[in-house]
């Protein structure tokens, strides 16, 4: 713990100023973006880092972006960044998570000598980055090279000027270059805003005070996290769960976690988890870390800020080459959107052994990724994740038709969808009764049926089609989900070619119930 140099008032004041900057960056990005993933569904995050690469403040819209940013900053710091540069990257093995998430990192400079005092970071899910299928979320990739263009940390802007060749190279490798350009521009605008706001803050408060605040905010947060962990009993609990196939086979894939608490520190150990698989449900370490952070955050008081201090008391052990710490060139696109949920489920299941009574039953545990793309009209891609049932808890029934885990994206409105794509939504409503029974019922899953009006390609990445979300304290499990092409049932993860008039129907899982129904 660093020594305290700021009084409690200044600390409070600057902590709120810094998180305000991250929030404002997020607003600029969402408002200016083109990808519906960003603008409608807010699949993006923004953050400020200090000069040592530690996260100082983050605007979180999506939990899966929680822990995955420090690697991005570290990768950029290795490349001698200068004032006015903006680095782009998406390589999961060099600071990224999966290829559709493009991260922009800008050094923040201060004073006449343009000393680098920190970094502004935006990460956003772009709706296409090339690769073997539209939407860049193939269900059957076996190597990362099939999943899209790989961008190692490179300068997209150098000293304030676009590096046109880099932009041209990226745009030449994606299906919807105009949208990419717009999205990248919105990200750059958000990063610039951080530079402006930090400069203003330093003008008002003094550079040294702001830099001290960077340190203090982190150590303050660390104190609070330790406090919360210390309040839990010491011990060791383990849990195991399964992922249903990897897109190349339909076999169950085990994920195992042992959670240990000792005084004010916590360890999450994934020894015993499956080796990396042939398909694309592998996770690079940053994604695993995000899932672990999420589980930890669920236990912490809500007003603890998100920064490097939040996670300092947590150690993560993930064997290299395993499903949860994959190495190049493993395919990873679904690790981010599916495996991350299961990691969080497993860790929370283990944590429930420490008996915080208000942990809810399991929610749907999948994002139900639906990707449809076609070639007509210059090509188009549609990507959607779908809500389902949340687990019920001690305090009441589980919410219905919501995202429960590593995502919290909005849906695409039916009216926006039909004006943008050659498709029609035939049904979008809740599946009453699909939540597990109990003293409190689990939330209901939903059904979304989409008819394609021209030939198209389908990719589906979903889970909990065999293993239902479990109840808690005697509650019943929720219903499993289901994927249908017309009347034919599809596996959890699959790719198909669609003919004009085909209807794809997704039933999302219900949440587990809490407590015995008549207990």
């Amino acid at each position: 713990m660093s020594e305290r140099n700021l009084d409690p008032v200044t600390l409070s004041v600057l902590a709120s100023a810094l998180s305000g900057i991250a929030e404002e960056m997020g607003a600029v990005l969402i408002r200016g973006a083109y990808s519906s993933n960003i603008k409608e569904r807010r699949d993006c995050s923004t953050a400020l880092f200090d000069a040592r690469g530690r996260m100082v403040a983050q605007a979180e819209h999506i939990p899966v972006h929680l822990g995955a940013m420090p690697e991005a900053v570290a990768a950029v710091m290795d490349r001698n960044p200068g004032a006015g540069d903006v680095f782009a990257l998406n390589d999961p093995y060099s600071g990224g998570t999966h290829l559709p998430d493009i991260t922009l990192v800008s050094p923040v400079a201060a004073g006449e000598n343009e000393e680098i005092v920190g970094y502004a970071v935006t990460r956003a899910h772009h709706s296409d980055v090339g690769g073997m299928s539209p939407g860049s979320m193939p269900s059957s990739s076996r190597e990362i090279y099939q999943e899209g263009i790989i961008i190692p940390p490179v300068r997209l802007v150098r000293g304030g000027e676009y590096v046109e060749e880099i932009l041209a190279l990226i745009l030449a490798n994606v299906r919807t270059p105009a949208l990419r350009r717009g999205d990248l521009r919105a990200q750059i605008a958000a990063n610039r805003l951080a530079q402006t706001r930090i400069s203003e803050l330093m003008e008002r408060r003094g550079k040294e005070t702001v830099l001290t605040a960077f340190d203090e905010v982190i150590s303050y947060t660390e104190r609070r996290t330790k406090e919360a962990i210390r309040a839990l009993p010491d011990g060791e609990y383990e849990a195991e769960d399964f992922l249903e196939g990897d897109g190349t086979t339909d076999e169950d894939i085990p994920i195992k976690a042992i959670v240990t608490i000792e005084d004010d520190s916590m360890t999450m150990d994934f020894t015993g988890t499956s080796e990396a698989v042939a398909g694309n449900v592998n996770c690079p370490l940053p994604v695993t870390r995000s899932a672990c952070y999420f589980a930890l955050r669920v236990l912490l008081p809500e007003d603890i800020p998100a920064n490097a201090g939040t996670y300092a008391p947590l150690e993560i052990l993930a064997p290299e080459g395993s499903l949860v710490n994959a190495i190049s060139p493993s395919a990873v696109v679904a690790g981010n959107v599916e495996t991350s949920n299961r990691i969080a489920d497993v860790v929370l299941a283990a944590l429930s052994g420490f008996a915080p009574a208000d942990l809810p039953a399991q929610g749907q545990g999948t994002m139900n990724n639906l990707i449809i793309g076609g070639r007509q009209g210059g090509g188009w891609t549609y990507y959607e994740t779908m809500g389902g049932g949340q687990g019920a808890s001690n305090s009441g029934p589980g919410p219905s038709g919501v995202h429960v885990g590593m995502s919290n994206t909005l849906n695409t409105p039916v009216e926006a969808f039909e004006m943008e794509y050659p498709m029609r939504v035939e049904r979008y409503e809740l599946l009453y009764g699909s939540g597990g029974a109990g003293k409190h019922r689990g939330g209901d899953g939903l059904v979304r049926s989409v008819k394609v009006l021209e030939p198209a390609s389908l990719s589906l990445l979903a889970d909990r089609r065999r293993h239902p979300p479990q109840g808690a304290q005697g509650g019943e499990p929720g219903s499993i989900g289901k994927n249908l092409l017309n009347d034919e049932e599809l596996p959890p993860k699959t790719s198909r070619e669609l003919a004009r008039g085909d209807v794809v129907t997704i039933h999302t899982p219900g949440g587990g119930g809490y407590g015995k129904e008549n207990g």
Binding site: R192, G396, N408, V414, E415, Y428, L446
Partner: protein, 658 residues
Amino acid sequence: MKKLRLGVDVGGTFTDLVALDNGEILTAKVPSTPQDQSEGVMNSVRAAGIEARSVAAFAHGMTVATNALLERKGARTAIVTTEGFRDVLEIARQDRPSLYDLSRNRPPALVPRGLRFTVRERMGPEGEILPLDERSLEEAVSALKEAEVEAVAVCLLFAFLHPEHEKKVGEVLREALPGVHVSLSSEVLPEFREYERFSTTAADAYLGPRLAAYLENLGREVEGAGMPSPLVMQSSGGVVEIGVASQRTAACVLSGPAGGVVGAAYVAEAGGYRNLLTFDMGGTSSDVAPILDGRTLTTTETAVAGVPIKLPMIDVHTVSAGGGSIAWTDAGGALRVGPHSAGADPGPAAYNKGGEQATVTDANLFLGYLQDGAKLGGEVVLDCGLSEKALSRVGKELGMDTLQVALGVVQVTNTEMVGALRVISVERGLDPREFALVAFGGAGPLHACSLAEELGIRTVLVPKAGGVLSALGLAVSDLRRDYLRPVLSTLNELEIGELEDAFEEMECGAAKDLDSPRFGRRADLRYAGQSFELMVDADELEDLEARFHEVHERRYGYRMEEEIVELVNLRLVATVPVEKPGLEEPEPEGESKPGRREANFGDEKTWREVPVLDRARMGRGSEIEGPAIVEFPEATCVVRPGWRGIIDEVGTLVLESV
């Protein structure tokens, strides 16, 4: 002779009345009557001793609609929607309310599952896909009869573009269910994105019966007393006739806060200030709003009590921090203020009503900004000793002395307020340094100078009628109706002539609703491919695209002139301006000797004796040099060191930083 303009504003605690009589302001304050707000309204008229015959106009702002939403005490409401899309209101946008508190649920949908009915039909972007099935409609009608609902929201997909099915369903329902309030999504909000449109329409239906009954009753009493039929404040900042308000209830949800912003704009403009940030700080919450070139701004992105209502509402940003916010120490050793509030009961420690926790008011009292022993509205007497005790308890936890804690509480609170003011200025692309800060509400003038210093604002305005500014705003509000027409086409595919025709058609319609209105044309635009629109002035159609680039750059920091611009909606604001009476401030009646008390401004950590002036004894031209304190009837203004003030000719205390 009829010459009085009345504004009556019903707040949580008090009902305020302002009567404008040729530039003079007459006020009254009576307790609100939550059971039937109209009782308090009539009490305020009696308390002011107003002669009914002399009233020319009677404008009313109320919280009936807001409260019904907050407490979920609206009508028993059903929805009739497209088959296959029964649960749009519950699924909403599928996001959960809290990322990490997994057991937190969303506020319940206004229409429960058992009252959601569907009809077989389908419209798409190009028009009819499936005709309206008469049998399914008959079945829906009999189900509705059986369910004994008081209101129905008819919400069909794509009705914003193709309202034919919805209109037909509406006709059938209105005939089959006499006495049941029916709202159509194509009439309430003809705009795309089904959840937001359905939600707004459901709110309209849900509020309709209650609000209509309340307004009818109020109208009867007001007219029965010999006054003109009341005008009702809408969320947009303009008033409408009572009959229209009853039919468009979702537009009145933020009737309350709108009055204050309009009042602040009016008073400031009377003194020559047209670019303002308003700051209304009360006991539990604070409202801030921007005013540009004398005009209040509206937004359509408001949610009230978890219900998105996408109708034009005055762009007010609310934070739950006020004088009653409680100071505390968190587990990491930081001083925090709020969001918990001691409210009015038990209130701050100083109230001696059982509250033991230190609040913002306690800090203000300890620092000498408020008067020890001052009487607040009746029996409450401020006791500084109790504040000191409460603050020192916080100080022990932090290792700070009581003075440091008091200064800290004020500073942390100010940070929150600065944050709120930045949201409505900097984040809207407005530079706060070009604005004057208008402070009102019980606690606004206490904090205003500090906030201004933090934001680089050089002028602070404290209106004389700061305690009843909402009621004053009502008295001077224009009649207003908002019209919307969806377009959804790229600008380059549209001829200016077409737009001109469309606006003229809307204007013709508006001219039937209002007596020789004035028109303001607006357009919602975006770059093709974006999802959020920006509202742009469209009075000059030739400049539309250029104006959009400009507004986009101001708001988001960049423009893309090579991209195609898309027109989503045309909007028409029709107003019938009321005459804005001038305000006059008399000169002070002779010299008055200021009182003195000790106060601490933190800058030198020393206490100093400062003059305390009574606003009632000041008048046009009275001057003040900070540090000083000015006591208003319902508020106290802190003039910090480095500020100088003068009462202007309309009675506003104008403070300038030196």
